[in-house]
């Protein structure tokens, strides 16, 4: 088995909101150039964990190193090498996509061509549109474009596919895979298991602020099967979503 280098290491992370313990001693590592998934129901502590790593929230205790930088003392260095998509962020009002990209280029001090960034996420036709006028999938693709402006080593995507239709989700999976193939490490949160299975190299199940399992999707499934588990119903070779995609096509349609 090849030796993997950890680009993020989280040790005993604890986060309390007043009396409420949202994250209770998380430890995990993210390897270079993998797609790492944090899976769990709403309220499990995924966003909290992600935003602490992104230096946007303070932790209560624990130790986090991102590409050799400590979140406590080198937050500024971390910000320069990561790209962040927040679960619910908006964008500066009254600006079109090109102008928003220009703004972020200035904030990152990055020298990029805005149109090329939009081409990467297939939004060149929407260059003059306002963010608010985009469809759900387009909004997420634009958010991903803003994460790539500073050519980051790691990007963090917080539930990028929640609320999207099946085509838009598949488009996004393709986009995320492309970004990974270009050499970027991806940390993603989701509560869709099919998405994790298709997209992630390794996943951590988070439940009430704790990791209850961490492995590759294959290993997790194999372990369950080896323990004697069987699905109650015989699985068909396709599911309803496959039928839908097959009928409607998989092309970018927004």
């Amino acid at each position: 088995m090849e030796i993997k280098k950890a680009i993020i290491s989280v040790k005993d992370l604890v986060k309390k909101y007043d009396d409420f313990v949202a994250v209770q001693g998380l430890s995990f590592e993210v390897y270079e150039n993998e797609i790492f998934g944090l899976l769990g129901p709403n309220g499990a502590g995924k966003t909290t964990t992600l935003e602490i790593i992104e230096t946007l929230r303070d932790k209560t205790s624990g130790e986090i190193i991102v590409d050799g930088f400590s979140v406590d003392k080198q937050a500024q260095d971390i910000k320069q090498i990561i790209g962040v998509q927040l679960q619910a962020a908006g964008y500066y009002p009254n600006l079109n996509l090109i102008e928003l990209i220009e703004l972020f280029a200035g904030l990152y001090g990055a020298n990029i061509k805005p149109m090329e960034m939009l081409e990467k996420v297939n939004l060149q036709d929407k260059a003059k549109a306002k963010y608010k006028a985009l469809s759900g999938g387009q909004k997420q693709r634009f958010s991903i474009a803003t994460t790539l402006i500073n050519q980051p080593k790691i990007i963090f995507l917080d539930e990028p596919t929640t609320g999207l239709d099946p085509q838009a989700r598949r488009n996004l999976w393709d986009l995320i895979t492309e970004i990974r193939n270009a050499g970027t490490t991806v940390v993603i949160t989701t509560h869709y298991m099919d998405e994790a299975e298709q997209l992630c190299d390794r996943v951590a199940f988070v439940e009430r602020g704790q990791i209850i399992a961490l492995d590759t999707p294959d290993n997790l499934i194999d372990n369950l099967v080896n323990s004697g588990f069987e699905r109650k119903k015989e699985v068909k070779k396709a599911n309803l979503e496959d039928v839908f995609i097959n009928l409607t096509g998989k092309e970018w349609r927004e």
Partner: protein, 384 residues
């Protein structure tokens, strides 16, 4: 966000400042100036496309200027200087003060009166003395071309006095003269007031809305995921707002000058002085905006809170009427408001042609307000 959280992220900011000096940091790789200017540009574009900003800054003041420009001045009150040495206890003066329309100004030297008369700060000067070897009085009036309308009113009042039966025997003659002065038009009063109010509304409403909405829509949070500094965000927004307000001010001054005959004593130099005053004003007023963005819980709370700040100043700071026209119990309130001093300084600079140093008192009051406001703003402003 809970306040404990944002308090501790301030500490993190402090730590960042330290690491920036640390030797292992990639030097010169990040420019705060670039980030600040990128924000200023974005913010300026956004303001220019926001209908409410344009309406508040330009349309309202211009409408008021238009209305008042054609309507002429508000309540009439005639200031009449009484020449030193005049006999005060004579029936003419008593009669004049009874009309209620005329305010007698005394205790000034003849030279002072001449200056005031020339500028139209007083509307006329009157000198009453007993004729030699006679029981009758001689009345000597000097009008000014700077205030023809009011001079005319005084003239008819005096004529009434002259033909008044009870007075007739004691008044022998009225001698009249008119000196040439600079005409003080309604626009010369109205425009600086409107300009001041435009700066107040842009500063307060604009700043409050922008920072509240950037905070609530998590735009600022997304900014914090970039290496940008907090100071860059504040300064970038400030540059955009000041730039926008100054363009608005210039527009108002030019329209006033070319279409309504607004007086600019020293031309371009006066305009530059006015814009410098405008800059000081908008910076002070933006402080109110920062405070309001911090205490408002949502966007619908911004207008009522902003109105608490802007409305009293709109009414009491000499925007429409000279504060001297207010009842005396109101005047101390007027004299406590920052807009009063901005308006006052603007009028002195524009019409009397004074320099900034001559209005240092007004500037000092603005400065004191600025320090007070920003001291509060630093306490109540919220980032998250």
């Amino acid at each position: 966000m809970n306040t404990g959280n944002s308090g501790s992220s301030l500490e993190t900011e402090g730590l960042n400042a330290e690491t920036e000096k640390a030797p292992f940091r990639k030097l010169g790789s990040y420019s705060n100036t670039t980030a600040t200017l990128a924000l200023a540009k974005a913010s300026f574009r956004s303001i220019m496309r926001s209908p409410s900003a344009v309406v508040f800054t330009l349309a309202f003041p211009l409408i008021f200027i238009l209305v008042f420009g054609f309507l002429g001045g508000g309540g009439t009150r005639i200031d009449v200087g009484v020449t030193p040495g005049s006999d005060i206890s004579n029936p003419v003066i008593t009669m004049l003060s009874k009309t209620g329309m005329i305010r007698l100004v005394m205790d000034k030297s003849r030279a002072d009166f001449d200056k005031l008369l020339e500028k139209g700060n007083i509307d006329a000067m009157i000198d009453v003395h007993r004729k030699v070897n006679s029981a009758a009085y001689s009345v000597n009036v000097v009008y000014t071309s700077a205030s023809r309308d009011k001079g005319g009113i005084l003239k008819s009042v005096l004529n009434n006095v002259f033909y008044d039966k009870t007075l007739k025997p004691s008044v022998a003659e009225i001698k009249e003269n008119t000196i040439v002065g600079r005409e003080y038009k309604t626009i010369d009063f109205i425009l600086p007031g409107q300009l001041g109010f435009s700066l107040l509304s842009t500063g307060v409403f604009g700043t409050a809305f922008v920072f509240l909405s950037l905070r609530q829509t998590l735009v600022i949070k997304r900014f914090f995921a970039t290496p940008v500094k907090r100071s860059s965000i504040v300064i970038g927004e400030g540059i955009a707002r000041i730039g926008f307000a100054l363009i608005g001010a210039l527009f108002i001054i030019l329209i006033g000058h070319f279409f309504f005959g607004f007086t600019l004593v020293h031309g371009v130099a006066t305009v530059i002085n006015m814009l410098l005053l405008a800059t000081m004003g908008i910076i002070v007023f933006m402080g109110f905006g920062f405070i309001i963005s911090g205490i408002a819980k949502n966007e619908s709370m911004v207008p009522p809170i902003s109105n608490i700040v802007t409305l009293p100043q709109f009414l009491l700071s000499g925007t429409f009427f000279s504060i001297e026209a207010f009842p005396s119990w109101l005047q101390p309130i007027s004299r406590a408001l920052p807009l009063t001093y901005l308006n006052d300084a603007m009028r002195k600079v524009a019409f009397e042609g004074l320099g900034l140093w001559d209005v240092k008192f007004q500037i000092m009051i603005l400065l004191i307000w600025g320090i007070g406001i920003y001291a509060v703003a630093v306490k109540v402003f919220k980032w998250e």
